[in-house]
């Protein structure tokens, strides 16, 4: 989805250059995800999805030498 968004606005050579699982234990390191939210997630989200439903990525792209934005 992110790669598609970059392409749609006019980037080229769009690629995902890093992709890793991002688990609940990783979310717990961030202030945006307080313990009560993580408890909520554990209740709502099937445990088998914790391993791969969120991933961290690095997406790269390039502005074409000659272009106008598509959106």
């Amino acid at each position: 989805m992110l790669r598609k968004k970059l392409f749609n606005v006019g980037f080229e050579a769009v690629a995902t250059v890093d992709r890793r699982p991002f688990r609940l234990a990783d979310l717990a390191r961030y202030p945006l995800f307080p313990p009560e939210f993580l408890d909520f997630v554990r209740r709502v989200l099937p445990s088998e999805l914790d391993h791969d439903i969120v991933q961290t990525v690095v997406v790269t792209g390039r502005r074409p030498i000659s272009s106008t934005p598509r959106a």
Binding site: F11, V44, V57, T60, R62
Partner: protein, 187 residues
């Protein structure tokens, strides 16, 4: 259709990060020890990115770089070391409290090729074609108007300029109850 307005999202993010306390837990997960050793401890402790986009940006000396959502400045400082004194890095953030922290870390590092600015990723306060490279780390996922933010990135990059974006993506649909929770806007 987002579950949160722009204003709601900005309020949640600003109020959370302006009182955020660091722990090095995020930095230890994402960066190599030798990378962290050369940076101010405060910038390391307040790293809240989700990946290491600077590692993939291919920065070279002399380039002009924009770090969108610079927070306390860890990736801004990394980028500044890579582009050297001939280059320039602008760190942009919408939260004044985080910019204040970043200013302290930039001063502590003695980096004179960094400028810090307040602004929104959906309305970048820069002229067209101002930068060679844009990096951003765990920030685009916080926008309720991601395509608008990406279009702004395209506008301020020079032709041939590059982006390297660290972000969180979903591989499946979250239950609706989760998506309506304010903290779910981060994914």
């Amino acid at each position: 259709m987002p579950y949160f307005s722009d204003a709601d999202a900005r309020t949640i993010i600003s109020t959370t990060y302006e009182k955020a306390q660091g722990s090095r837990a995020v930095a230890a997960m994402l960066y190599a020890p030798e990378e962290l050793a050369v940076l101010p401890p405060g910038a390391v402790a307040l790293a809240f990115g989700v990946n290491h986009p600077v590692r993939h940006a291919g920065l070279v000396r002399g380039e002009r770089v924009l770090d969108i959502g610079c927070g306390a400045g860890i990736d801004t400082l990394f980028a500044a070391r890579l582009v050297g004194s001939d280059g320039r890095v602008v760190g942009l953030d919408m939260t004044p409290a985080m910019l204040d922290r970043a200013r302290g870390h930039v001063a502590e590092a003695g980096a004179d090729n960094i400028e810090l600015r307040e602004g929104l990723m959906e309305a970048l306060p820069f002229p067209d074609e101002s930068f060679d490279v844009i990096v951003s780390n765990g920030v685009l996922n916080l926008s309720t108007r991601k395509s608008r933010a990406l279009a702004e990135m395209l506008r301020v990059l020079r032709p041939g300029g590059r982006v390297a974006l660290g972000d969180l993506v979903l591989t499946d649909t979250l239950p609706e109850a989760l998506m309506k929770d304010p903290t779910a806007l981060a994914v």
